[in-house]
């Protein structure tokens, strides 16, 4: 029994937990972070699963990380370096390919090979998405107001929301309203005619969501992924040196330098609640820690259905959390390679494309079929993949001359019929490799080691309920003032002094640091 009292305890050392702890410490609080794993980072992590090869076993790229977090926590000083990912390569089985280069003329040239019309539309599409993203981005930094409430705070925030949106051009406002309610596929059909272009653009709408590109609501997800920026360049994805684990290490270092105490191998079993007020936590080994502020970085389901005794929560709230949609379709595959994959459709002289994203997303139909296969507890026979060869960007990721390949893969249901087990894992891993080998036939000959994280593994490893990469679907019914539950979308919970700071809260998943930072603002509002 430890009687030391902290100002705040953060349950979970995911990137949001670390960000939250750092901001609280910056405001003068004495903060303890308790992480169940042997290392911090949560899903923002790099691990040397196979000696010499640093695997990105969960997240792999950074885009939506709020620049405020980088500046205010001085992450550069703590070792953060983000290299922009320059291109997207979409190999096709008919020998052709599509590419997006960091250069306007070059991209236009590539798209014109498929459709001149699309090459022109592409400019306008990108500008439009950037304008919309620019308009909605300030919302990410707001603590969501309750639109039905008339408290001065909520009213003031609603006014800000309105202010943000009223800056929009009229036609953009209508477009935004439509985009928010449409499917990514239908939206893209309005813009483009070429199949591979629509395929690759649709992927932004399905990343991490258990929805197909034709599911209404994926339009919003599409936009969500446009909101990120690096150095002011919208829709830029970057690779952190050392992988995304490099980022969590930088945040942890910043947190420590601000006085945050971090304990790993410390799984919390229960939040201690007395008379409706959270006062501390009990670890699985029985140790107890006390503080005035308890913050959970775990997802909403884990937090309220596992860590808190239900007698402390109102029924309707529990129902909201129970119905929070969290089934997940995403897997992560890492390969240790003896050389580079040779894509049949990659022309000589364009090898630079291997340094960017490599997308197996030849068409919207391909993606929708991949979803169809998985919808009823199955997996895609031909999965969608967002692949990357990080060792081409950061040679430290693999031994000299060797490479790693990271593949984000959809869809494989978290509710797999019959349940996941080692055999099923191996079977799906083969599906992934077979699919990729159709595009890069030498792949199987250069694999030194292969590794898969299914939703089952993501749950077991990171405590992500159903392995959901965003702590719950980014669908409209559970965003903004509805995330994770109406009335409790402002990082506060029905239990006094108990807060949430993970991706189940606004603005949701991805490596943003926004929930962690916003939650700190809310906490400091209550307890300056």
């Amino acid at each position: 029994m430890n009687n030391h009292k902290y100002d705040a305890i953060v349950i979970g050392g995911g990137h949001n937990g670390l960000v939250n702890a750092a901001y609280l410490a910056k405001a003068g609080k004495q903060v303890l972070v308790l992480e169940r794993r042997h290392t911090v980072g949560g899903a923002t992590i790099t691990e040397e699963v196979y000696p010499g090869f640093k695997y990105l076993i969960a997240s792999y790229l950074i885009s939506l990380l709020r620049s405020e977090v980088i500046q205010e926590l001085e992450l550069a000083r703590h070792g953060l370096e983000i290299m922009p990912l320059e291109s997207t390569f979409v190999p096709l089985l008919d020998g052709n390919y599509l590419a997006d280069w960091p250069d306007h003329d070059a991209t236009k040239h590539e798209i014109s090979r498929h459709s001149k019309r699309d090459a022109e539309a592409y400019d306008e599409y990108s500008r439009t998405m950037r304008r919309l993203a620019l308009a909605v981005r300030p919302l990410l930094d707001l603590i969501p107001p309750d639109p039905t409430s008339v408290t001065p705070n909520d009213l003031a925030t609603m006014a800000k929301v309105k202010g943000t949106l009223s800056g929009l051009r009229k036609d953009d406002f209508y477009l935004l309203a439509r985009l928010m309610t449409m499917s990514a596929g239908d939206f893209l059909d309005e813009w483009f005619e070429s199949t591979p272009l629509k395929g690759t653009k649709a992927t932004s709408g399905i990343i991490g969501t258990f929805m197909g590109p034709r599911t209404p609501g994926t339009g919003y997800v599409l936009l969500h992924h446009y909101i990120g920026d690096i150095d002011g360049v919208f829709r830029a994805w970057g690779f952190a040196r050392g992988g995304t684990g490099g980022l969590s290490q930088a945040i942890a270092s910043a947190a420590r330098s601000l006085g945050v105490e971090i304990k790993v191998n410390s799984p919390v079993a229960q939040v201690i609640v007395k008379n409706g007020v959270a006062t501390g936590v009990a670890l699985e080994n029985g140790d107890e820690y006390f503080a005035d502020i308890i913050v959970s970085n775990a997802d909403a389901k884990r937090t309220f259905l596992k860590l808190v005794d239900s007698k402390n929560l109102p029924d309707d709230f529990i129902n909201d959390i129970k119905r929070f949609r969290i089934s997940s379709p995403a897997c992560k595959v890492n390969l240790a390679l003896d050389g580079l994959p040779e894509f049949t459709s990659l022309p000589k002289g364009k090898e630079a494309l291997l340094r960017g994203s490599i997308e197996i997303a030849p068409s919207i139909d391909y993606l929708e079929r991949a979803y169809d296969d998985a919808k009823y507890g199955g997996w895609s026979r031909k999965p969608f993949m967002d692949a990357l060869i990080p060792s081409l960007l950061d040679p430290g990721m693999a031994p000299p001359g060797k490479h790693i390949m990271s593949m984000f893969v959809e869809y494989a249901s978290s509710d797999l019929e019959g349940g996941w087990n080692e055999e099923k894992k191996a079977e799906f891993l083969d599906v992934v490799i077979d699919t990729l080998a159709e595009y890069a036939p030498n792949l199987k000959n250069i694999i030194l080691h292969k590794h898969i994280m299914t939703p089952w593994d993501l749950e077991n490893t990171f405590g992500l309920t159903a392995g959901h990469i965003f702590h719950g679907e980014l669908s409209l019914q559970q965003l903004f003032f509805l995330r994770p539950s109406p009335q409790w979308s402002n990082y506060r919970t029905p239990i006094q002094n108990f807060y949430m700071c993970g991706s189940s809260t606004h603005p949701g998943g991805c490596i943003t640091g926004a929930p962690g930072r916003n939650a700190a603002m809310a906490i400091l509002e209550d307890r300056p």
């Binding site: 236009k108 040239h109 001149k116 022109e120 400019d123 950037r130 051009r169």
Partner: protein
């Protein structure tokens, strides 16, 4: 990765100082020589040959082609008989300019439209329900601008076509060195000049280029790049997309867009040809008056020179045009912005384009522009004048 012009095999060997630039995804020449002075001087005093192949070109055919074009652009295309060309802007439904270019009436129901930016999608979207065929022929057609006072004399040694009597904005079909060409009395220099249009095969482009260079020896012909062209087009008061206006479909906010009325193109709007895209908005603007007006500015270069001399410096006149937005002020308050400026070697004036709140767009008004004097930034007077700055009679004369 940049595309090469169909004349690349001829232009590349002439390049002396690697002064290439981008133009619509093509590699284009800024200047062949180490400096562009001689290229500009040849343009106004002899003749120059400029590769303008990167222009976008569209063939528009079909029974509805005239009504389609008349719906699309602001000018009345029905006034353009076969063998004629016209310059015109086109707008979106808010009357905001999207692009500007020329239309040539090639034959019955057949037109060619040129533009600075690709417009295929805009054209197709506006052709819905009409019997027209729109073909992007940008890569199939090569183009050269032969500009300058001696251009006609030169061309007349290469073809029997009636160039002596060819009027401004008319064209003829003929051949040069056995290659079929269309020669139009058009250009972007405000001078006597022609544009030569031909199919883009290497055999054709090389034959025509070689013939022009060969014949040009007697007329001090000089291949020239965009730097020389840019000086000339500013003198001639001709606007440039992306520099003097942001096309409406590229603008992030309404404040970045312009209308033809604001850009001094009221003469290029036909109010009584029937409806066209943007007409309603433009008519309202015409009735209320435009809030912004494009004007010429003559910057007080004597003062510019004096201030440099005071520091024991020679005034660094911009012989290459600057293309940045500089604020323009009246009594210390910003009332507009300039978009480009250059020293005019012909006029011996420091000229610029200004976009002024209309109440200041009166000839003779003095506004100020901030310019660098070595390490300092100082306001200089600039006098509002009418465009163009330079408009020689030879531009339109016939023999």
């Amino acid at each position: 990765m940049l595309k090469s012009s169909p004349f690349h095999s001829r232009t590349a060997p002439l390049m002396q100082a690697d002064q290439w630039r981008r133009w619509a995804g093509y590699r284009a020449v800024s200047a062949y020589e180490m400096t562009h002075d001689r290229e500009y001087l040849a343009l106004r005093n002899a003749c120059v040959l400029i590769d303008v192949s990167p222009l976008c070109k569209y063939h528009i055919t079909g029974k509805d082609s005239l009504s389609f074009l008349n719906r699309l652009v602001t000018r009345d295309v029905s006034k353009c008989s076969i063998g004629g060309m016209l310059y015109t802007p086109w707008c979106n439904s808010q009357g905001k300019i999207i692009d500007d270019g020329t239309i040539a009436h090639l034959s019955e129901n057949t037109y060619r439209l040129t533009s600075a930016e690709p417009n295929l999608r805009w054209l197709e979207d506006n052709a819905i329900g009409m019997e027209v065929k729109i073909q992007d022929v940008s890569e199939e057609i090569a183009a050269l601008a032969l500009q300058g006072p001696k251009s006609r004399d030169l061309l007349m040694t290469l073809t029997d076509a009636p160039l002596a009597s060819l009027k401004y904005y008319r064209f003829v079909n003929t051949s040069i060195a056995g290659v079929p060409v269309m020669i139009s009395r058009t250009g972007y220099t405000g001078d006597l000049g022609f544009e030569i249009w031909l199919e883009s095969s290497q055999a054709s482009t090389e034959a025509v280029w070689d013939a022009l260079i060969q014949a040009g020896r007697a007329f001090a012909l000089q291949p020239a790049g965009i730097w020389a062209l840019d000086v000339a087009r500013i003198e001639a008061g001709l606007i440039m997309l992306d520099i003097d206006y942001t096309p409406a479909n590229k603008a992030m906010i309404d404040g970045q867009t312009s209308t033809p009325l604001e850009l001094g193109l009221d003469w290029a709007i036909s109010w009584n040809k029937g409806n066209f895209v943007g007409r309603k908005a433009l008519l309202a603007e015409k009735q209320q008056g435009s809030s912004v007006t494009l004007v010429g500015l003559e910057i007080d270069h004597k003062e510019f020179e004096r201030q440099h001399n005071q520091l024991a410096l020679i005034a660094p006149y911009p012989f290459t045009a600057w293309r940045t937005m500089l604020p323009l002020a009246f009594e210390g308050k910003q009332i507009g912005y300039a978009t480009c400026g250059v020293w005019s070697p012909t006029l011996k004036k420091y000229i610029a384009f200004g976009h002024l709140q209309s109440q200041f767009a009166i000839n003779g008004t003095i506004v100020t522009i901030d310019l660098d004097v070595d390490r300092y930034r100082r306001p200089f007077n600039a006098k509002v004048t009418k465009l163009p700055f330079f408009n020689p009679a030879r531009k339109k004369d016939v023999l």
